[in-house]
């Protein structure tokens, strides 16, 4: 595969390094000295120039390229690159943005800015933080339909309260679907009477709240309770999205922000979050608001120095788990060495997500499970989809494989899929399917 990467920052460079061995990679940056450095670090073709110019893109080979990854530090530059590349050839365009708004615009249309995939670093980081907080026991977590639907895979251990229960007994949530069980390398489609055994791997699909609730059942000790104190320090974009996503999982976090206008805006947007306007490094304040007894404290301030200060302070006064944001990815190790429980680097998670995506090489948002045995697909039903107007039972019977409809999202709200649920045009459906039937499902949807 021929890949053109624009922007040789941390993200662009780590993607280039990962892809270099199997693919033909060209990396473009406006900064000549940076390009010089890379030349000697990674075995890729380098080019100095402005990636928004079509002449530069043509020279980099965007016309014949299979994929163009726009990964500069500027959102608008990245979007312009996607638009330009699209007019030159027909590569698969990936844009990296910071603004969650651009990502939302793209999500709603699926093709805005001529991008085939838009990844928002802030959302990605917040999502990772929330998964680290909320689902520490999950082996694999993926988001669909812009975070409205979650897929999670859990290891069922000997000590888990649901071991020995039937699926019907364990299913206490309205909007949760038990998609599959992996048992001794076999795929089992769970029926109500299937008994859950230790050593099983269970795949569930549902709303963030119900997935969270189920995690609580599977691993009550490791998983935080919705009554637990979760404190976020710093109300920047990542802090805001972390709080918002925690609200979606029925948590009521606390958020400390130093700027009073920003605090007000945050409080208006986050009805379930207690927003406090104070200096987060004031230990008297932390004690007065009982933040020292927090079950989880997330430090999401703007600079690594402040994050380190707050994290160390929080550990010292007694916070149980401390998760910190780290801007420079080479500090991740350092943060963990001084006793911080988890360090999340937005650049790292973004690069990882893009790399994951390039490996999968398909347009649909998918998650591959158990080394490729089965996949979870998200499909948006268009006018010509064979699913439209039929109910789930009919579709199930017309396919000669086992398909599980994990979730249906209609105009931004979740519809719990039942046998008699009739699918409509415009629905987003999340389907669990064995890998060999993925092609058939894509053709039908």
């Amino acid at each position: 595969m021929q890949v053109v990467i624009i922007g040789a920052g941390e993200v662009g460079t780590s993607i280039a390094a990962d892809l270099a061995s199997d693919h033909d990679v060209v990396i473009v940056d406006i900064d000549e000295s940076r390009i010089e450095d890379i030349k000697y670090d990674i075995d890729v073709l380098t080019l100095a120039g402005d990636g928004t110019k079509s002449s530069v893109l043509i020279e980099a080979g965007a016309v014949q390229a299979d994929m163009v990854i726009a990964s500069t530090d500027d959102d608008k530059t990245n979007l312009v690159i996607c638009g330009t590349a699209e007019t030159l050839g027909d590569p698969f365009n990936i844009a990296r943005v910071k603004s969650a708004e651009y990502r939302r615009t793209w999500e709603q249309t699926g093709k805005a800015f001529d991008a085939d995939f838009v990844i928002c670093a802030n959302l990605q980081a917040a999502g990772t933080i929330v998964d680290v907080i909320g689902l520490p026991s999950a082996v694999e977590v993926s988001s669909f339909v812009g975070g409205l639907v979650k897929m999670a895979e859990f290891d069922i251990t000997e000590g888990s309260p649901i071991t020995g229960q039937t699926v019907a007994e364990a299913d206490r949530f309205d909007s949760l679907t038990f998609a599959a069980l992996f048992r001794d390398d076999d795929l089992v489609l769970p029926q109500g009477s299937t008994i859950i055994k230790a050593g099983d791997r269970m795949v569930i699909i549902g709303s963030p709240g119900s997935v969270q609730g189920f995690a609580q059942q599977v691993a009550p000790v490791a998983t935080p309770d919705t009554a637990d104190d979760i404190v976020i320090v710093g109300g920047g974009e990542i802090g805001y999205h972390t709080a918002r996503m925690l609200e979606m999982r029925d948590f009521s976090p606390k958020l400390v922000e130093q700027d009073s206008d920003r605090s007000r805006a945050l409080a208006e947007d986050l009805p379930e979050t207690l927003v406090m306007n104070h200096d987060p490094t004031d230990t008297d304040f932390l004690r007065r608001e009982r933040l020292d007894e927090a079950n989880v404290l997330v430090s999401a301030l703007g600079s690594d120095e402040n994050n380190m200060l707050v994290s160390v302070l929080a550990k010292r006064i007694g916070a149980k788990r401390v998760i910190s944001l780290v801007d420079r990815s080479d500090y991740v190790q350092l943060f963990q060495e001084i006793g911080i429980d988890a360090a999340v680097s937005p650049r790292d998670v973004t690069a990882e997500e893009i790399i994951r995506f390039t490996h999968e090489k398909v347009a649909e948002n998918i998650a591959v499970l158990e080394g490729g045995k089965a996949e979870v697909l998200e499909l948006e039903l268009g006018a010509d989809s064979e699913f439209v107007g039929r109910n789930i039972r009919e579709i199930d019977e017309s396919v000669n494989s086992d398909v599980v409809f994990g979730a249906v999202s209609r105009r931004g709200t979740e519809v719990v899929p039942r046998g008699d649920t009739v699918l409509e045009q415009g629905d987003n459906v999340v389907i669990f399917v064995e890998s060999e039937f993925v092609g058939q499902m894509l053709a039908m949807g």
Binding site: S263, L266, A267, E268, L274, V275, M276, N277, H278
Partner: protein
Amino acid sequence: MGQYVRVEWRASIGLIGAVLLYLTLPLLFPLALAVLYGESVLPFLVPMAVTLGLGGGLRMLADIEEDVGPREAFLAVATIWLLVAAIGALPFLVAGNGTIAQPVNAMFEAMSGLTTTGATVIGDFGVHSRSVMMWRQVLQWLGGLGILILVTAVLSEIGVGGAQLMETETQSQSSNRLTPRISETAQLIWGLYLGLTVLVAAVLAGMHYLGPVVGVELAPNMNLYNAVAHALTSISTAGFSPEARSIEAFSAAVQWVLIPVMLLGSTSFVLIYFAIRGAPMRLLRSEEFRFYIGVFALFTATSAALLIGTQELDMGLHDTVRHSAFNVASILTTTGYASQDFTNWPNAGQNVLFAAMFIGGMVGSTTCSIKSLRWLVVLKSFRRDLFTAIHPDAVRPVRVSGSSVDEGTIRDIYGYVLLSIVIFFLLTLFVVIDGARSGVDPSEFEAMGAAASTVLNIGPAFGRAGPMDNYLVFPESTRAVMVVLMWLGRIEIVPVLVLLTPSFWRS
């Protein structure tokens, strides 16, 4: 020196002139009735000559090129309500019958009508012609939703200024546009108002005429005249009745029907519009609606619990519930009907009604008083203050129906509630002192009831000014002051007080 009047009064004058010209139209209705019943037509021809002459004259003086800004809106709103009431009083003066032939009383009756208060100074209901009695009802209907909304609906020349006028009239920033053009929004709202009025009249008349067909006397006294008269003053939560005994003159069935009508009149017309257009959930999602219905249920239950044990009233369960619900709805929605003389209720029951006076219905309806939304915001912001007392750094926006309320708006609402209550106390004091001076000696409860009832535009009070009596008990000077306060209360105090500040007239 060097101070100029900076209000573009000529823009306001043009507007006032146009409103007066249009006022000719509603006068045609009682005029037609007078012809039909063979009564004197003079009481309506005289005011029609005034509206045409004065309105036309003002239009000639006017400069319609000027924009209606905030100052012009304040001036126009306050003046229009006062002038329309004055012209509304002319038929009573010209007819020359009974107590309302006297100028202060005529003005009281007209202002009480137009502001949808419903307090009366008619001593003997029998001496007036049916067309004059209907004029009282029409005045109330005109005032119900607000004259300026009507003006905005018919006058295309107002354009953008209409939003200014509607906001000034209702003292709210959210004119809640249903369509991009403000005049179309006003037309929709008025169309809805008219439609609901016709519906209520049809239901009431239907009960009267169709009842006997199926063999039940559902509404013996509710002939077409009464059906129209009560439709005009129920959906407008106004409260005049051509019957001296108010709604006591009608059957239990009529009373039951009027309870939801009054409640509907107090519901936001924007939400009613959406409910009709197929989104009834918006109504239930409105916290203000739930609060207001909750208050109605609570007050009805309290009142019923107090009345059921009262020996003197000797009512069964059905009568107790009906009279409690009816009179609580009447006072809470600021209508001012009565299904029985509640001055005979035990003191505790009367106090429940007195408390209900201060609440009112929803913003954007025909109701008056302080209004549910303001109380809801006050309660929520008070609860927030209790929370921030414990967590001094917490940032907690006050939310109503999911959206947060601006801190400036909260301050305005506190200010408005306080101002209403201060004005109520000052008027009470005046009623007591003026009463003592003239030898009327109103009791404290009579004075408080009458003061609240006029400044909050409800209608009946307690004691000697109860629903089956009238305000003639108070001296003329008190009645004159009440005229001013009904005017002040209906346009939500601010437009009138603003005119009294010197800086309004300067740059």
